[in-house]
């Protein structure tokens, strides 16, 4: 339900558009991080353990 005091206006479109506007920036972040991990690997630095099970414990360990 999109509650809006102005019923013909839809907040949903703005939510899509801002994602598209952020897309380049956020995608770049993920790209840079993955490259950084690769470079570190080349120098023999092990990435932080982020295997699937680790990730699941995220919620639990908070």
């Amino acid at each position: 339900m999109n509650y809006s005091p102005l019923p013909y206006l839809d907040p949903g479109s703005g939510s899509i558009i801002i994602q598209l506007a952020l897309a380049a920036l956020l995608g770049l972040g993920v790209f840079v991080r993955s490259q950084w991990t690769r470079i570190k690997k080349m120098f023999g630095i092990k990435p932080k353990q982020m295997d699937e099970n680790e990730e699941n414990d995220d919620v639990e360990k908070q």
Binding site: M1, L9, S13, Q19, G27, V30, D58
Partner: protein
Amino acid sequence: MTTLKNNERLSTSFRDPSGFLFARDEKLYRQVNHSYSQDYTFLIESGLYDRLLKANLLIPHTEVGVQPIEPKSAFKVICPEQVRFISYPYEWSFSQLKDAALATIAVQKHALKFEMSLKDASAYNIQFHKGKPILIDTLSFEVYKDGAPWVAYRQFCQHFLAPLALMAKTDVRLSQLMRVYIDGVPLDLASRLLPASTCLNFGLLTHIHLHARAQMRYADAGAVNDRLEKTSRERMTKQALQGLIESLENTVKQLEWKPVGTEWGDYYNMTNYTDSAFEHKKNIISEWVRRLNPRQVWDVGANNGVFTRLASAQGIPAIAFDIDPAAVEQNYRQVKSARETNILPLVQDLTNPSPSLGWHTRERNAFLERAPADMVFALAVIHHLAISNNVPLYLLADFFHDLGKWLVIEFVPKTDSQVQKLLASRLDIFDQYTVDDFERIFGARFAILEKVKVRESERFLYLMEKRD
């Protein structure tokens, strides 16, 4: 706990065309509609379902041969593992809402790895089950479409990020906005209520402040079309989508709230109980619980749950209600650190309990609609209701009569120093607040099975059973 009406569609899942919940023989089932068959099959066959079960993030279910309620549209009927008690985000403490948000994010991250995505990110789809937040809506997934933005982004921000930010940065009591706005806190409102300093936080700046601006700016179709024409070739790459999810996750993780400076923060250091009286009280209650072995216990006015644990430690599922978000927060942190599975702390104001809400006021159940409990604890609470809140004893007896079968209640007489404190600032108009009146008035609604004076105190503990 609530008696489920046979073959009735639950009024909580009417918005979803993918399926709905219904009750039969005191059990909940979910009908999966034909229109959702592809997504459902993909969820199971891709391995995502098993992965989420392993991670304890999705409620397990079995496919059953039960006759569907609407056979024409039915693809399958599934029986999910039954959740003991349905609670709502306006009843959660800060960390409970935060963990529910992180559980939603964790589900979405797994889903993307399996080429699926969450189409809903409603806080109401998360429940606390065996001590942990878990997704209960099996029909929340859709096959990921390459290039598509996250359709549940707005909902995630309204249901989780906005209330968490408001609780952490403005005032913890703003969690109650979730009670007013059934689809989460409107972002323009959150943006106005948050301090300006939150604009310096990248996550809050983008996901709340700029997000709210974008919603206003592109709320009207003309502006949207102009903008979409310009961005028609822009797509949300999967990498960008992952970036969005990670950004939300980091923003949520950075939000903190510490339970200090509230009413009950160090309540047990301020009581008038001696150690020996405290132990005596614990022993009496433990003994009654052991003897009656109730199916579940509701502790109203539970503070940080020290007495609730007398039941949960015996393996009895217990809910610890308290008005103070700091006490509930402390209790929840204890549940987490000790990995307790059968105690659920919740925020509840007994003088104004959760009402029924939503469409036809049937979407979210009132506090009392989720009763009765087998056994109710009302310890050191009656003087607050009777004296601070002016509720006459006969109305208290009525209320507790609706709440559960057995009642463990502590009467705190006027001579008690805590009651004296309450009376210090108000006129004593409470003629009927005596042990005799209490026994007479409660005795009309309950059979008084036991009465024990707590050692080294002025207080009495009663075990009562309600009369039909």
